[in-house]
């Protein structure tokens, strides 16, 4: 059984039909990437999984359980965390408070301490700045904070929405390395990216989205070798 399974999911914003029958699976331990142009429906897919955008039709199953019956805050307790598009850090909370909010649902003090250490090991910069208001961080640091905050929930499935957006190339590399590292430490990842090149390098499998539909799927190697992907998303002539 797949860890996450979407079956024939439809979703709307008012009259806009944003998702037109999305089906996908994520197996435990994988990095799966969702690529596609701006407006293809990548963010909407993640929003459906966390029920920020309840689907009008179709199923969303996580570890066999139907998620559509739960509100967002309950889904988080099931073991899913999200790094939202545009980071969504709490600018007027300190770095430390942001991380605490990440662990909001947990009560296991000792394990939270451990995870805090782990986040500070991944991102030493956050440790230096833990008393600072998050709004004063640089873009790269905010992205680290958004990822660190999601890890504080100790999720089994991590949803990431364009973590490389707006970052300098050198930072993009290090963020992708971190994502791989997080995955090796045992967290399953569904990664939304416009940077298909980088995403396909670290992902096991991928889906290509276009105007609310999945038009292609396969292993990362297959997608990298696909002519359409090369032309449209990898910028090769």
């Amino acid at each position: 059984m797949a860890m996450l399974e979407l079956h024939n999911v439809h979703a709307y914003y008012g009259h806009i039909h944003a998702l037109k029958g999305i089906s996908l699976t994520v197996e435990k331990g994988e990095i799966v990437t969702l690529i596609g142009a701006n407006g293809a429906g990548k963010t909407s897919t993640l929003r459906v999984i966390t029920m920020l955008l309840p689907p009008t039709e179709g199923q969303v199953r996580f570890e066999g359980e139907d998620l559509t019956q739960y509100p967002t805050h309950v889904i988080v307790r099931k073991g899913i965390a999200m790094v939202p598009e545009g980071r969504g850090i709490f600018a007027r909370l300190t770095v430390m408070e942001n991380l605490e909010m990440g662990a909001y649902t947990r009560t296991d003090k000792k394990a939270i301490e451990e995870d805090l250490e782990r986040v500070f090991t991944l991102f030493p910069r956050l440790k230096e700045r833990r008393r600072q208001l998050a709004g004063t961080l640089s873009g790269g640091e905010q992205q680290m904070l958004a990822i660190g905050r999601a890890l504080m929930a100790r999720p089994r499935l991590l949803l990431m929405d364009e973590p490389s957006m707006g970052l300098a190339p050198i930072l993009v590399e290090s963020i992708f390395e971190t994502i791989q590292q997080i995955n090796r430490q045992g967290t399953t990842i569904l990664l939304v990216e416009q940077n298909a090149h980088m995403a396909l390098q670290i992902a096991h499998r991928g889906y290509v989205l276009r105007t609310g539909e999945i038009v292609l799927q396969g292993t990362a190697q297959e997608l990298q070798a696909n002519e359409m992907v090369q032309k449209t998303y990898l910028g090769m002539a």
Binding site: L52, P71, V76, G88, R92, E97, E100, M101, A153
Partner: protein, 358 residues
């Protein structure tokens, strides 16, 4: 040539309305300053009297600040003005009135005066909170996604509904609040005599505000409130039950209003169904003064308004030869609101807010 371009630039930057409004504001300011100078020269008040004005103002300001916190907390999280907040305050006063009378009847009131007072505070907090929770659930929650004007109108409707509910249950005349013998007489602060209820108000409101600040700053729920205030979707992604935190915010604000209601009733020793209106409007003014949505701002705004209102009549109006200046307290309060809005539209501490959130 150059002056022409410069003139154009300034003309575009500040249109005629701005200039007129500023001129209006500045002339009021000039009159106020003139009045103050004249007052200081001509009135017989010594520094003790002035200090007394300040202390009474500080006490009144404490009540305003406590109520203002309710407006600001709810605004901070829902971006709406809870116009029913004055009535939430009023219901707290009635709740404590009835329990106070009952305690009096059974003799508990005279035997344990301090404990009785504490019970009144707790009862008022609970009653105000209950009303707030009901208003939120019935009147505001269903409209959470509606355009901003809609809950505003509903809030005004809720305010009237509560007022006339109180009137039909408790009558339209004033009710006498139980007298508190331990609060008779006055105490000496810094060589100034001040009535005990006023002193109590100063102490209790400072304590409550310190407690509220610590709660919002340091507890998990307080941090969640601040997170929800910033971004509800992301807060939900943290596993925060946003609806629940909103209810908790209403309860927090209403508890402050409940405490304020007892303090207010102990001072004025009467309670009536429209008693929430004026303090509500004043506290709203205080919240706007401080920068609505900003917690320290509401506290500061409350004290600022209280002290200004208390000093203003003697300091400004007497020098201008106004007779019975105390009756013009409200004029002073609202004139100050207009002045602040002219010169600093976001309120005293409200800088970042207006930009980020509109």
């Amino acid at each position: 040539m150059d002056w022409k371009r410069r003139f154009e630039y300034w003309r575009r930057r500040y249109d005629l309305t701005d200039v007129v409004v500023w001129a209006f504001g500045l002339s009021i300011l000039a009159v106020a300053v003139y009045g103050a100078v004249r007052s200081l020269q001509t009135t017989p008040y010594g520094w003790k009297q002035w200090l007394q004005f300040v202390l009474y103002g500080f006490s009144q300001g404490g009540v305003y600040a406590l109520i203002a916190l309710g407006y600001t907390l709810v605004y901070g999280i829902l971006f709406m003005i809870n116009f029913a907040h004055g009535e939430i305050f009023m219901f707290g006063a009635f709740g404590s009135l009835f329990v106070g009378l009952a305690l009096q009847r059974i003799g508990f009131w005279d035997r344990y005066p301090v404990l009785s007072l504490i019970i009144l505070f707790l009862v008022a907090m609970v009653v105000s909170s209950t009303v707030a929770v009901i208003v939120e659930r019935v009147a505001y929650r269903p409209l959470r996604k509606a355009p901003r004007l809609v809950p505003l109108i509903t809030a005004i409707g809720a305010s009237f509904t509560l007022q006339y509910t109180a009137r039909s249950f408790f009558g339209s005349g004033p009710r006498a609040y139980p007298e508190t013998p331990i609060l008779a007489g006055s105490v000496n602060i810094l060589g100034i005599q001040i009535g005990k209820p006023y002193a109590l108000t100063i102490v209790v409101s400072l304590l409550m505000m310190a407690g509220l600040y610590a709660y919002v700053q340091f507890t998990k729920t307080g941090k969640a409130m601040r997170a929800v205030a910033e971004n509800k979707e992301v807060a939900a992604l943290m596993g925060i039950d946003v609806d629940r935190v909103i209810v908790q915010t209403f309860i927090l604000g209403a508890s402050m209003a409940g405490v304020a209601a007892v303090l207010y009733s102990v001072i004025y020793i009467q309670v009536k169904f429209f008693m929430g209106f004026i303090p509500g409007i004043k506290a709203f003014t205080a919240a706007v003064l401080g920068g609505i949505g900003n917690i320290p701002g509401a506290m500061l705004g409350g004290y600022f308004l209280g002290i200004f209102e208390s000093l203003g009549p003697a300091l400004i109006l007497e020098g201008l030869g106004v007779t019975a200046p105390n009756q013009l307290k409200d004029v002073i309060a609202f004139t100050m609101l207009v002045m602040v809005l002219i010169f600093r539209p976001t309120g005293i501490l409200g800088e970042a807010l207006a930009e980020e959130r509109v």
